[in-house]
Amino acid sequence: MHVVTIETETDFAGWRQAARTLAMNHVEPADIIWRFSGSDHDLLEELSAPRLPDPVEGTFNVPAKFVELAQTAILHRNPERFAILYRLLLRVRSNHDLLEIATDPDVAEVTAMARAVHRDEHKMQAFVRFREIGRERQARYVAWFEPEHHIVELAAPFFARRFADMPWSILTPDLCAHWDGSHVTFTPGVSKADAPSEDRLEEIWRRYYASIFNPARLKVKAMEKEMPRKYWRNLPEAGLIKPLIAGASQRTAEMIDQAATDPHKPQKRVETDMPRNTQTSADNLETLRDEATHCRACELWKQATQTVFGEGPANAQVMLIGEQPGDKEDLAGHPFVGPAGQMLDRALEEAGIDRKKTYVTNAVKHFKFVPRGKIRLHQKPGTPEIRACRPWYERELALLRPELVVAMGATAAQCVFGKLTQINKNRGRVIELADGVKALVTVHPSYLLRLPDEEAKTREYLRFVDDLRIAADFIRKAARAA
């Protein structure tokens, strides 16, 4: 039998050193009595038993996770903790994966001890209540707390980081922690009588507690689960719990029974809104845009954020039309601001077209998608949606009367031509439609983003730019003719 004495209740280093020596000497867990210096014990028994065996050279490895777990579990108040941890140490030494086995009784016990310590630490962070002594610059904040486990040293750094600019002390029966603005120091435990008994803010804090409580939804068990009764005696607000519960049902019944009183005259103090847009000179695109905000012509508006209408100057010579707004366009409320928009900007610049002078819009003006967990998956609009949205395109067209409409992608082509129209057959030349509109068909920039291999991407991008060059030439010629 070996008697091992640990310096203090929380002396992990001492336990670790002793345990290492014992393990190297192959001492069985059953042959050790663990004690710590402060405890009462049988002197005779201690004298008769041998001390630690001689230290053996060398060390052995255990997973870092064990050290972390043992450091926490050793703070548990269970008097058997040193022995339990030694037993687990020996087993972990021969099986490094042991801690992964949640069903092992030793692992389960030590894990539960560590969890209890962390919970206690968490509750200490929550339920410590500082009381102010002195005022202003001389103020010092002192709290009384009764932890379940040996957690004062564990929890003190949290308070030091949080309340770094004020001197504080946390007094407990085991150990007291003090902060002077630069260091945490510890002194032996004291009794509750040594702690201040009140604070000037407690009355207003209690009033807050009583007011934030909703008597119509009494859930006493839920409260007790998270704030067990053992903490109540040191919480200034806990004295209100009983009367609040007692009065709750009557207060609720009164609210339900009470007839609503005559309403006050509304106490509005409306400030006249700053006119946001002073340019009201029959800017028809603006009124059209406003009208489209409330469009309910198909179902797409429900799931989407907003109508994304066309944008650009009323005298634009080119109207670029895409498929529909994407995720980013839906959030921002502007067309072509996402990745496809960036691709379009680049291609326009290369083709010699100034985007600011074009009008950019979409065939369908709400985002169509299916939710997939945290993302919204783009869906191609169907013919009913394209049809429902076409009147907006027609009215945009009628107002702008552009020299050329560039339809990007199959949806846009279907909208502009009024029927399914193949891109590859029709691209590369300006087509005059029955209504006199001159149209050019090309791919949608997002098609270029989706192409898997780089070579195809480069090739298709160049074709896209070529198509846009045709548009650029066409406008130049039209301008010269005018």
């Binding site: 949640a102 949080r162 770094a164 807050y208 839920a222 339900i256």
Partner: protein, 412 residues
């Protein structure tokens, strides 16, 4: 009016907002000695609990309960006879610091009635946060209510100081909002949520790219919202569809569900009855299933019913509707399958996966894995246990999980 009376009025006015989170933000502390406060890494800290079971983590108040809007469900609506009060900016700042120093709170949750205009109200709310951060070097948690349609620069500034921003969607149905809150507009709420998400994404992207310029700080704890349950006729299916849409579109951290609760001086147009607390609880469970268990909104509520059952939890109800998928051998099943077993939490599933790599899971191991035995047993196969084949098919299986009928009294 003295400060404590104001606090009573403006805390009472704020208590119908369920949000209390103080977690998930950036790590801050004041160990440089130049400020006050820190954020809790990992779990948020709940400093107290009220007998309604709700945590008290933040000083949750309104700047003023005067309001231009006349939302029927709201205690602060323009036509209500509640006493009105208004804090000054300095009063809120001082109260926050005083409470914080005593370790009563993690920080401030500030909202406000709409006075004058959206921009004026937002400016007042932002001014409190600005003063706390810039003048008092407060490093605790700040949650600010965002006023829909407030100016872009005010929103950017709110995000600079706040950890979390929120805008309440209020009603699951757009039509209900139009009916109960005539001045509110779900489209305006969504547009503002969209603007917030763009800013959140921007700040997130800036963190990933290495630049010399400091990325713009924007609400590191993200945005959340709240829906009132039981004031209108929307069923659970509609509510969860709305949530799924909001989570997907605006990357919300949380959707809070608030059972409509009787309020003082209530409007006659609303159901004045005890709040549907069990329903609220089931919606939270369903919300968890969507966010952490891989369930889609459509799967959780039985199509024909439209409502979640009140007597059993939604995962168990799903399993009872899909008995053909069980029993499941938990020594072999995939993570996705394990997450769908009644009584298995996410941590339980991780424990099972880690444990079974080295040792088979047996009947006696269940308590150590924190498995609710009664709930899980009919659905699982272990190395030394298999439910009787008849059990899963029996009509009695559902009855087994229903709470026992309470005896009301003895016949005489």
């Amino acid at each position: 009016m003295d400060l404590s009376r104001k606090l009573e009025i403006l805390a009472d006015a704020a208590k119908y907002d369920a949000s209390c989170a103080s977690s998930g933000t950036e790590v801050r502390d004041s160990s440089d000695g130049k400020g006050l406060g820190s954020t809790a890494p990992g779990m948020g800290i709940c400093h107290s609990y009220a007998p309604d079971g709700r945590c008290i983590s933040l000083l949750k108040i309104l700047l003023t309960n005067a309001c231009n809007y006349d939302c029927l469900y709201c205690v602060n609506r323009a036509s209500s006879n509640v006493t009105r009060a208004r804090f000054t900016i300095d009063e809120v700042v001082k109260l926050t610091i005083d409470f914080y120093r005593r370790n009563y709170i993690e920080g401030l949750f500030l909202s406000s009635g709409i006075i004058r205009s959206a921009d004026y109200t937002m400016e007042q709310v932002v001014a409190v946060a600005r003063k706390l951060r810039e003048e008092n070097h407060f490093r605790g948690y700040i949650h600010l209510k965002t006023i829909p349609e407030a100016d872009e620069t005010l929103i950017a500034e709110a995000g600079k100081y706040a950890d979390r921003l929120s805008i309440n969607i209020e009603m699951p149905l757009e039509t209900s909002l139009a009916r109960f809150a005539p001045e509110k507009d779900q489209r305006a709420i969504r547009r503002t949520m969209g603007r917030l998400r763009l800013k959140l994404d921007e700040a997130e992207d800036a963190k990933k790219t290495i630049t010399k310029a400091k990325p713009p700080r924007f609400a590191p704890a993200g945005q959340s919202t709240q829906m009132i349950v039981g004031a209108d006729s929307a069923n659970d299916r509609t509510i969860l569809d709305t949530s799924a849409n909001l989570y997907g579109a605006y990357r919300l951290k949380r959707v809070y569900y608030s059972a409509f609760s009787p309020i003082p001086d209530a409007s006659r147009a609303l159901p004045l009855q005890a709040p549907p607390l069990v329903r609220e609880h089931r919606l939270y469970q369903a919300d968890w299933l969507m966010r952490f268990y891989g369930f889609a909104a459509q799967e959780i509520v039985d199509e024909a019913e439209g409502m979640l059952p009140l007597d059993i939890d939604p995962k168990l109800a799903w399993a009872l509707r899909h008995r053909e998928r069980f029993p499941l051998d938990i020594n072999r099943a995939s993570r996705e399958e394990l997450l769908r077993v009644p009584g298995f939490g996410t941590k339980t599933v991780e424990r099972i996966i880690a444990t079974r790599r080295t040792s088979a899971i047996r009947y006696a191991d269940l308590p150590r894995l924190h498995i609710v035995r009664n709930k899980a047993l009919p659905f699982i196969v272990l190395s030394d246990y298999r439910p009787s084949p008849a059990a899963l098919d029996s009509t009695g299986l559902s009855a087994r999980f229903k709470p026992k009928a309470r005896q009301l009294g003895f016949g005489f």
